[in-house]
């Protein structure tokens, strides 16, 4: 194909795109052309690594060398098909071609303008002690952040292009020899089989990777912290980086991970264990407390302590609603206020939260629309819900269901709902790994980092449920004292 034909086809492909440009360099009878997207390509890169070397080569009489040798860029690729040339330009590369090339159409040169925001501490995962660095929107930069923490050749990366129109770069990063080979293959297979027009964020990929069509609880983890993702990689998990998203996905994601926080590992194991117990208790309270309250008061008042029953009855004397409807309405009001607070700008959001929580609640009691005990129950459940952020949304729906079932069927329905949810969770998997592991199926090593947290030196092995093999992590002891103190 002649350079003229290539130019014509490219012009046709990029019709009505004012940011598409050609740069022709004429050297006697020969013309070298650079095709690129203005702004998407770095001007400095194009000038310094393409135009300058070519110009110098021709003026110095070295034009007989192949163009890929003349161009002083680290990443060049020979292109043989027109689709490849178009894809290269759309990816931010410069496409260089001339009449002197044989067997290829031209050369794609990496010139993508990768300037973005610098690394900042993620607002959603603050820590007091630990690195204050977060992922950015650049997948390349994010991989570098991981490599800075894991200086190992075992850290592998596989790349995919997903989205027929957006052609988004998706990378799968894992530790070879630690990650379960079946999990890696499964994740890669699922990503390569995604058929959609657009991938605009890692959340889009997450939906496609889930086990199950619409699960209540997430089966894919996410984080904006490189140290957290690096730790997960070292446990045999797989990281999925999507270009354009600062949120990195991790798989498999297990139930217990929601109770683990990065800072736990730099605290005393005793304190970390205590805090994890608190988180787990808060999780149970947020899920079951309102439903238990409704079941007890509406269906089994004889099961409630007398003092509590009389206190609730006296508080509700002037109310027309039944307790079931009261809980339901307050619950929905609270969720509305929460949603408004989240969507509004920060300054307004906090004001809305204040109005909702204090003024609305207090006024509702004074106006006789609700009672203080119900408000306390719903508020306690809502506050506890914030202690386990990954399950916040799923818990909200689950809690609503529990309240409705408990209101209708009392303790019988309450426990039936718990049993059904347990059965569903027992059958749930994340990329083929049991979701409730290490509890069900039981894995002793995994239990050392669940609700009870052992010191890091005592976590001898990586949980076999993740890796599929028994890998030693530590020697199981701390270094002995070198110096003996006196009496």
């Amino acid at each position: 194909m002649t350079a003229q034909t290539i130019r014509k086809e490219l012009a046709n492909a990029f019709t009505d795109m004012t940011d598409f440009a050609f740069r022709d360099m004429v050297f006697g009878e020969n013309t070298v052309t650079v095709a690129y997207l203005v702004g998407f390509c770095s001007r400095i890169f194009v000038n310094k690594y393409i135009l300058e070397p070519i110009s110098y080569a021709y003026t110095a009489g070295n034009a007989s060398f192949p163009l890929e040798s003349i161009i002083t860029n680290i990443k060049v690729e020979k292109i043989t098909e027109m689709d490849g040339a178009i894809r290269a330009i759309l990816s931010g590369n410069a496409f260089v071609f001339s009449d002197t090339m044989e067997n290829i159409l031209g050369i794609s040169v990496f010139t993508k303008n990768d300037e973005g925001r610098s690394t900042m501490e993620p607002e959603t995962e603050n820590v007091i002690r630990g690195p204050h660095e977060g992922f950015t929107e650049s997948a390349e930069n994010n991989v570098v952040l991981l490599r800075r923490r894991i200086h190992s050749a075992k850290l592998k990366r596989r790349s995919f292009v997903v989205g027929q129109e957006t052609m988004t770069d998706v990378s799968v990063v894992f530790m070879e020899g630690i990650a379960n080979g079946e999990v890696v293959s499964e994740v890669c297979r699922r990503i390569s089989e995604i058929k959609t027009d657009a991938i605009l964020d890692s959340g889009y990929v997450e939906i496609f990777l889930q086990d199950g069509k619409a699960p209540f609880y997430p089966a894919i983890g996410n984080s904006e912290r490189p140290d957290k993702v690096a730790a997960k990689l070292m446990e045999g998990r797989v990281a999925i980086l999507v270009d354009g998203s600062p949120v990195v996905l991790t798989a498999p994601y297990l139930f217990c991970e929601a109770f683990q926080v990065t800072e736990d590992y730099s605290k005393s194991p005793w304190y970390a264990t205590f805090v994890r117990f608190l988180r787990f208790a808060a999780y149970l309270v947020s899920l079951y407390f309102p439903a238990l309250f409704v079941a007890a008061f509406v269906r089994h008042p004889d099961r409630m302590p007398d003092f509590m029953l009389s206190a609730i009855k006296s508080a509700r004397e002037s109310l027309e609603f039944s307790l079931f409807w009261e809980v339901l309405i307050i619950f929905l009001i609270f969720e509305t206020v929460r949603e408004v607070g989240l969507r509004m700008p920060k300054a307004v959001g906090s004001a809305v939260g204040l109005v909702g929580s204090l003024i609305l609640g207090d006024s509702a009691i004074k106006a006789g629309l609700t009672s203080a005990p119900v408000l306390v129950v719903v508020a306690l459940a809502a506050v506890c819900n914030f202690m386990v952020p990954p399950y916040m949304n799923g818990n909200m729906l689950y809690r609503l269901l529990m309240i409705v079932i408990s209101g209708a069927l009392g303790f019988f329905g309450f426990f039936a709902a718990i049993l059904v949810s347990c059965i569903v969770l027992c059958g749930k998997t994340s990329v083929g790994i049991p979701y409730l592991s290490p509890f069900a199926p039981f894995d002793r090593e995994g239990m050392k980092d669940f609700i009870y947290m052992a010191p890091i030196w005592a976590m001898k092995r990586i949980p076999a449920s993740l890796t599929g093999k028994r890998l030693i992590r530590t020697q199981g002891k701390i270094p002995e004292k070198g110096v003996k103190t006196g009496k």
Binding site: L409, G410, F412, F415, A416, C426, G427, P434, F439, F442
Partner: protein, 317 residues
């Protein structure tokens, strides 16, 4: 046959299975606690022969006790006991659970129980094993509350109706659990055993010990609950019993589904119909307090039959 259960899951499944029978026995004498354990012991020893044979199906397991390869009759008898036990358990557990919720119609209680059992059986024995492991979540708080709560030893009275239930179906549970725990072929060790790190030399013996241990643990747990009660309204105990019923019923449904698994759907349906009809009429003839509402029984059995057959044909994992 693909392995489903780890030894720990087998232990807990046996525990819940026996515990549910003991709960139905309702404040029995010490003899009533010991008898089920003895029954488990007996059947476990009998099950040893089957556990040492290589096999791929439940019928292969049963064939270990037959002089010839033909297993249709013992298999039919086996499934008959399971179906009968499923019906008994449904009625008994339904009655017990309704005591806590007299405002709920009895059929609705039964429907919920059946739905839970069907859901579990459909998801497979692996899920059932994991569900049994979750019972630990209940046992630990139970023990803690008992330790730090009030101690009120109670008098034990003699009433042994529940013991009959334990006796009636223990062989099926033991055989089935063992058959789902070991693998056939030349592999030697099952996935479940691999997860424990090392395979015991005498695999069958290890399994029998696990089953006996689970049953023994159930007896101890029941004795503990009888001696140190919470009080009249112990919600955790109620839930533990509820869970035990659900697990036992799910296990029975799984056995039925496994037994009726045939490629020929018509054959399986006819077999299931015959089996359950026989179970219903036999039990109805023999009589018992739990079978007074005969109409309900027929409906129940029909539902049981349909569901288990469907599970057996389409969804057994």
């Amino acid at each position: 046959m693909k392995t489903h259960l780890t030894p720990f899951q087998l232990f807990l499944l046996t525990f819940l299975y026996v515990f549910s029978g003991l709960s139905l026995a309702d404040a029995d004498s010490f003899l009533a606690l010991i008898l089920p354990f003895a029954a488990v012991l007996l059947w476990a020893v009998i099950g040893y022969r089957g556990a040492t044979k290589k096999r791929a199906e439940l019928s292969d397991f049963l064939s270990a006790y037959m002089p010839k390869k033909e297993t249709a009759i013992p298999l039919a008898f086996f499934l008959f006991t399971v179906a009968a036990e499923a019906v008994c358990l449904l009625m008994d557990a339904g009655t017990v659970l309704t005591l806590e919720a007299d405002f709920i119609p009895f059929p609705l209680v039964l429907a919920v129980l059946i739905a839970i059992a069907c859901l579990t059986a459909k998801k497979g024995v692996t899920v059932l094993g994991r569900l049994a492991e979750l019972s630990l979540f209940l046992l630990v708080p139970l023990v803690l509350v008992h330790l730090f709560g009030a101690f009120h030893p109670i008098q034990m009275s003699g009433e042994a109706s529940g013991v009959r239930l334990v006796f009636s179906v223990m062989p099926s549970s033991v055989f089935f659990l063992l058959s789902m725990t070991t693998v056939s072929g030349d592999e030697g060790t099952s996935d479940g055993f691999r997860s424990t790190g090392r395979a015991p030399r005498d695999r069958a013996g290890f399994l029998i010990k696990t089953v006996i241990g689970g049953a023994g643990f159930a007896v101890l747990a029941r004795a503990f609950l009888l001696m140190f009660p919470f009080g009249e309204h112990a919600l955790l105990v109620y839930f533990l019993e509820y869970m035990a019923y659900a697990v036992k019923l799910s296990l029975l449904f799984s056995i039925l589904a496994h037994g009726f698994r045939k490629k020929n759907a018509k054959y399986a349906t006819v077999l299931a119909m015959l089996m359950l009809s026989a179970a219903v009429f036999t039990l109805a003839t023999v009589g018992g307090a739990v079978f007074s509402p005969f109409l309900w029984l027929v409906l129940l059995v029909s539902l049981n039959l349909t569901v288990s057959t469907m599970l057996g044909i389409f969804a057994v994992k």
